[in-house]
């Protein structure tokens, strides 16, 4: 894992001081709320329905045991004993007091953490593959590149007031586990003629106008990565629309300007910037890489006794092949039947921290699917791990199953939401657990957003649900056929929306069509792509 040196620590400490000063000036009346709002947002502090909400950055989703323990302590000390893991691999606390926020930031800084740029019209926390460094199929660990970009994007003097927020994801395998092409910039580390470089995809996104990012450069040499990123951002800062908040994301610029013209301007700016000394020395990337070297994997048993069927099911569903054949990556589901997706109590966080230390080289990851993964677990340790998880209600065997629902906080917490998301996810997971169909559906990614901003990634769900406000009453649209993986596609709306009870029925009806129509080995998404929308519409509205 990356470790701060004195410089990183100085920067984060200076930020805590700055924020403390800003809060004091706000409370003293030197800053109006209009002036203070972007400053608190750049420190992750929102004003939501019930209180201030704080979003803490978890760079590329990676946490040490000690960091996870502090996240638990913060939940107890400053909040109400729980936190919510988000679709951008961060954690949010829902009940923060403005007057206590600077102390909270200082506590985070003690374990090399912060809330810098987790909101605001700036470059947000860089996300990555949650199996980075463990995946059997990766070219290299993508996190050193994400860390390089984290440093470049933190406190960037030119890009703090972009037209709109800006999200970057970095991956390094052909399997996309980070929704890379649905980011403002998606970067894939690739190999060409024996050299590593970066493919740049620019202008993807979800939200009001979902778009899949086009590739604008298939190979940027590693010693020009920051410079190329800077060129992409400068062209956006210069020309991105500022007249309409809903058209201000880079996807609209790339779309309206055309990918070709945008690329031409980026290349021109890039050629200029190459002489400007923007790029850190390559030795810096080498230095960062040393923090992400493999832990000392040991050979051990490659199979485990699966005579307990419950354990066998968990192993089958919640563990993923590792690059070392004596290990797996083990997913801790934060999606118990009827639970709140992504929420974890402080006690659960402490336990996950301890398990990370005991079983996974002191490391865990937040997944964008709002689960936690222990990346390097010895196969021989799996039963002990599963037993400990089960006792804490964390052993749900439902990775990528219908119960593994992504849901944004929705109208229960969020001031932007039009409808509640969590109750819908609770009812769906309970319905499919009670009727037994959940176990027959296989991989089915269900994603729920409470408004068009799409924090719940509904466009990218095999089944997506979008909550809308219909004359003051919650209403839910159903979407089918999205994917955030390497076969990226955008889901399409089935037709008129449903009320709260109706949407749960509609999801079951949709699942029934799949169960009826599927052919051997087909996932829900495969069947949908083969048979199209019509049979589903017929069943839903016919």
């Amino acid at each position: 894992m990356y470790k701060y040196d004195e410089y990183d620590q100085q920067m984060v400490d200076a930020r805590v001081d700055e924020f403390r000063d800003q809060v004091e000036r706000r409370l003293a009346g030197k800053l109006t709320e209009d002036q203070f709002k972007p400053l608190r947002l750049m420190n992750g502090l929102y004003l939501q329905l019930h209180a201030y909400m704080l979003r803490v950055a978890i760079p590329y989703g990676t946490l040490s045991g000690a960091q996870m323990h502090i996240l638990a302590d913060i939940a107890d000390k400053y909040d109400r004993g729980y936190g919510h893991f988000t679709t951008r691999q961060n954690i949010q606390y829902n009940w923060i007091k403005l007057e206590e926020a600077p102390d909270l930031m200082a506590d985070l800084a003690k374990v090399e953490m912060h809330a810098i740029q987790t909101s605001g019209n700036c470059i947000r926390n860089i996300s990555s593959d949650h199996f980075a460094g463990a995946a059997a199929d990766e070219l290299v660990d993508p996190r050193p590149y994400a860390e390089l970009l984290r440093q470049w994007s933190s406190f960037h003097p030119e890009f703090m007031y972009l037209p709109r927020k800006f999200k970057i994801a970095v991956i390094a395998s052909d399997t996309d586990r980070a929704a890379m092409r649905l980011h403002d910039i998606g970067i894939q580390i690739v190999e060409q003629n024996g050299e590593l470089g970066a493919a740049f995809y620019v202008g993807g996104g979800m939200g009001r106008t979902p778009m899949i990012a086009p590739c604008i450069r298939d190979f940027v040499p590693l010693d020009q990565l920051v410079t190329y990123s800077e060129a992409c951002l400068r062209v956006y800062n210069r020309h991105g629309r500022r007249d309409n908040k809903y058209k201000a994301r880079i996807k609209i610029l790339v779309h309206e300007m055309g990918a070709e013209e945008y690329t031409r301007q980026v290349e021109e700016e890039f050629a200029h910037l190459l002489d400007q000394g923007v790029e850190p020395p390559l030795a810096e990337l080498e230095r960062i890489r040393t923090f992400f070297e493999d832990p000392a994997f040991e050979d051990g048993p490659k199979t485990v006794d699966k005579s307990d069927p419950d354990f066998a099911l968990w192993v089958e569903r919640n563990t993923v092949r590792h690059k070392h054949d004596s290990y797996v990556s083990a997913v801790i589901s934060l999606k118990p039947v009827g639970g709140i997706p992504g929420d974890a109590t402080s006690a659960q966080m402490h336990l996950m921290a301890d398990l990370a230390t005991r079983f996974s080289f002191d490391e865990c990851r937040v997944m964008h699917t709002q689960n936690i993964v222990l990346p390097h677990v010895k196969i021989v340790d799996l039963h002990a791990l599963w037993t400990a998880l089960n006792e804490a209600g964390l052993g749900e065997p439902n990775l990528d199953q219908v119960g593994d629902i992504i849901a944004c906080p929705g109208l229960d917490y969020c001031s932007l939401a039009n409808a509640r998301s969590i109750p819908i996810s609770q009812q769906i997971s309970e319905r499919f657990a009670a009727n037994g169909k959940g176990d027959t559906l296989g991989e089915l990614k269900l994603k729920i957003s409470g408004c068009i901003n799409a924090c719940g990634h509904h466009h990218a769900g095999h089944i997506g649900i979008l909550g809308v406000d219909k004359k003051g009453v919650e209403n839910y649209q159903l979407l089918l056929g999205g994917s955030e993986a390497e076969d990226t596609s955008l889901a399409k709306i089935t037709g008129p929306g449903f009320d709260e009870a109706g949407i749960v029925d509609a999801v079951e009806t949709t699942a029934d069509v799949y169960l009826r129509e599927r052919e051997d080995g087909e996932r829900f998404l495969d069947t949908y792509r083969r048979i199209g929308m019509a049979p589903f519409k017929e069943a839903l509205y016919g």
Binding site: L27, E33, A51, K97, I340, D412, P423
Partner: protein
Amino acid sequence: MKILTGNDLKTGDVVWWDGQGWSRHVEDAVDAGDDAETILAREEAARRVNVPYVIAAELADGVPRPAHIKDRVRALGPTVRPDLTLKPADPQAIDWVI
């Protein structure tokens, strides 16, 4: 009726204008009538409450009930965590929201 709401500047608590000050309980909210804008400007300037605003409500069983579900969620708390609402012991409270 028109009632005033916002969040306490320091704590973020949801608060309602009760005629003299800000209460955490929507039951205490009073009709601000024509004085709404004056009160909002004064209270915001005094930095007691953050971004206060006026909303429509109606009296139901003697209690002001905000017209929009968003403000009813604010008045009670998250419907998915009754234990964290202002009425953890009242299982019917969520029906008032929805």
